[in-house]
């Protein structure tokens, strides 16, 4: 074959390694049969039987392109190394093989769905790898850092073991900070009948608390009637969706919507995160057998677009530094927000350098799909597999990369430092705060 020795097989991850020690071929076979017989049907069978092994999906995948076109990273190559083997052996695979499946499906694919746009048949290769993740998870094999976030979801309904008092304290602290800029800034807790419930991902109170202060300022200037829940359901993130623990995914999504229903809000606005939106708008409802979410839900990008185009937020001055844009898979490919995102960036930034490829064809940041959440053991693999993104960003000549998604923010921060691009990442709200017009009567002295 002439391929170099298999990559990334020397990474040690207790979540995978320890699980392999206690699994048997028989147990794995039982799980595989159960998952395939009970949880898959037309799509699984048709996709695998219709794929004519043409390899056209390869050019779509940033892993394949960044790893010098190594066929083991192409979408069909990943399916070959996992599902084709599993089906050929009728599920009778050993724990060491399952370790490879976990590595490939969990850490070497971001389920970004770019491949489905390159396959002539529209095969959902990401779906196939999610089935592999489900099998691994049901066998108890999940990368340790990722499983920790799933455990946190199961116990606390948030991703980062945040306790209720920490949550409320953080909101109050950020409210004070916001009030030092804008006198009317408040973070109303548990306000029944508010128009908007704003939800965030757990890393925000934990490590990015300033974003909570920013949204308080934005809501105050735009005079939005909003609230946040003080109780469980405030976290809209959903790592269980990516590990294959769909039961926990469903519980978390239900808690999020129940919070909104309890507060009788008209709609939910989510902070800048991609996977959270995907979970709440799509994967969660699908598992819970809802055709639509019970409470209307929009992403921050959609919300900012509304605020800017309606004039609720006016732009006082444009952001001067040259900027480019990361187009998060889950809101652009995943929800068609590419146009609106482009419009709000152009409304607020004077020197916008468009990325190429763009919109639905843009590359994944390499961090999403649960990959960055697999933690430090897999970082080298992840940044190696995202080199094309670094090349793409460098080619724009921008200083700032706007990343309206937490995973993209972290992932691109990592490749900026690995490939020494000299750029900085910013959430869109960080730009909006700087350029929005604050009426004099609201400014704090």
């Amino acid at each position: 074959m002439g391929l170099p020795a298999a990559v990334n097989t020397t990474v040690s991850d207790p979540g995978i390694d320890e699980a392999a020690k206690s699994l048997t071929t028989q147990r794995i076979q039982e799980v595989i049969h159960r998952v395939i017989d009970k949880e898959t049907a037309a799509r699984f069978r048709t996709y695998l039987n219709t794929c004519v092994h043409c390899g056209l999906c390869s050019d779509a995948c940033h892993w394949f392109l960044s790893n010098d076109r190594d066929p083991r990273f192409s979408p069909v190559g990943k399916v070959k190394q996992t599902l084709w083997e599993i089906l050929r052996k009728k599920g009778k695979v050993d724990p060491y093989f399952l370790k490879d499946c976990s590595r490939i499906a969990q850490t070497e694919c971001n389920v970004c769905r770019r491949c489905s746009m390159y396959c002539p048949f529209g095969i959902d290769i990401a779906y196939l790898l999610l089935v592999v993740r489900r099998i691994c998870s049901e066998c108890g094999m999940v990368p340790q850092f990722l499983q920790d976030t799933v455990n946190s979801h199961a116990v606390t309904f948030n991703q980062m073991w945040v306790k209720q008092d920490e949550w409320i304290d953080t909101l109050q602290w950020q409210e004070e900070d916001a009030r030092s800029e804008i006198t009317t800034a408040r973070i109303p807790l548990d306000k029944e009948g508010a128009e908007v419930m704003y939800s965030v991902i757990a890393p925000e109170p934990k490590i990015l608390a300033q974003l909570l202060g920013y949204i308080a300022q934005i809501m105050a200037v735009a005079k939005i009637d909003w609230t946040m829940p003080s109780f469980d359901g405030w976290d809209n993130s959903n790592m269980a969706m990516y590990s294959g623990d769909f039961e926990t995914m469903g519980r978390v999504e239900r808690a999020h919507y129940e919070a909104a229903l309890k507060l009788k809000v008209r709609r939910i606005v989510m902070g800048e995160c991609g996977h959270a939106f995907r979970g709440a708008a799509y994967d969660g409802p699908k598992w819970l057998a809802w055709k639509e979410p019970p409470v209307p839900l929009i992403h921050a990008v959609d919300f900012y677009h509304e605020l800017i185009t309606s004039g609720k937020i006016k732009i006082a001055r444009k952001f001067e530094e040259p900027v480019t844009l990361q187009e998060p898979c889950n809101i652009v490919r995943g929800r068609g927000l590419g146009r609106k995102l482009r419009e709000i960036v152009q409304a607020t930034c004077a020197d916008f350098r468009p990325p190429d490829p763009e919109f639905e064809h843009n590359y994944c940041c390499g961090a999403g799909g649960g990959v960055i959440n697999c933690g430090p053991p897999w970082k080298t693999s992840r940044v190696t597999g995202n080199r094309v993104k670094a090349e793409q960003l460098a080619a724009t000549g921008a200083h700032i990369v706007i990343t309206p998604c937490h995973n993209c923010h972290s992932g691109i921060e990592d490749i900026i430092s690995t490939y020494k691009l000299g750029q900085h990442v910013k959430f869109f709200s960080e730009i909006l705060i700087q350029v929005m017009e604050i009426p004099d009567e609201l400014k704090a002295q």
Partner: protein
Amino acid sequence: MYEFASGPLVWIAFIVFFAGMVYQFMKLLMLAKKDKVIYPYMSLKYGLRSLFHWIVPFASKNMRQRYEVTIVTFAFHICLVLLPIFLAAHVVMFSFAWGPRWATLSEHAATFMTIAVILAAIFFLARRLMMPEVRFVTFGSDYILLAVAVAPFLTGFIANRQWFDYETTVIIHMICGAVMLMAIPFTRLSHMLFFPFTRAYMGSEFGAVRHAKDW
């Protein structure tokens, strides 16, 4: 042998083909019901929109990026479908047995199209052997399927040219045709039936649910 190959074998091949296709289609519908998202998400408008962008040459980004594959694949499939239906020799045999007849291809056009199919098959073979990402996912079955698909055209061409004993080569041609027909419902050649549905579903998911384009 000739009587069998041009008589009962044709019957068997077509019955197996049609019955097999109907079986696969019914199975698809049944499994689609079990796969709870399919019927709720399927959308005629968005399914057709996606299908359109992938059946018109160069209408999707990857078709433009891989233009060489696009040109060869479209030539191959168009000729593959038109030749058996509009070849003069086939039409003559059909109208001799059943009555109706329809327009036929000229001798030149038929020769040109058959050579196109054969050259396209050589291109596909070369692609499988030479491109690492295709070779990695190629198995014996892929080579066999390519052979099964191109054999009727190769043997038909040889029979038409009368390079060897005509009766022998034409019998081989008829057997190859029958084998290909019978193989379609039960192998990856069934993409002929399934591809519009997988494409329409992806178009529906991307279009109706995600409000995005999948081309």
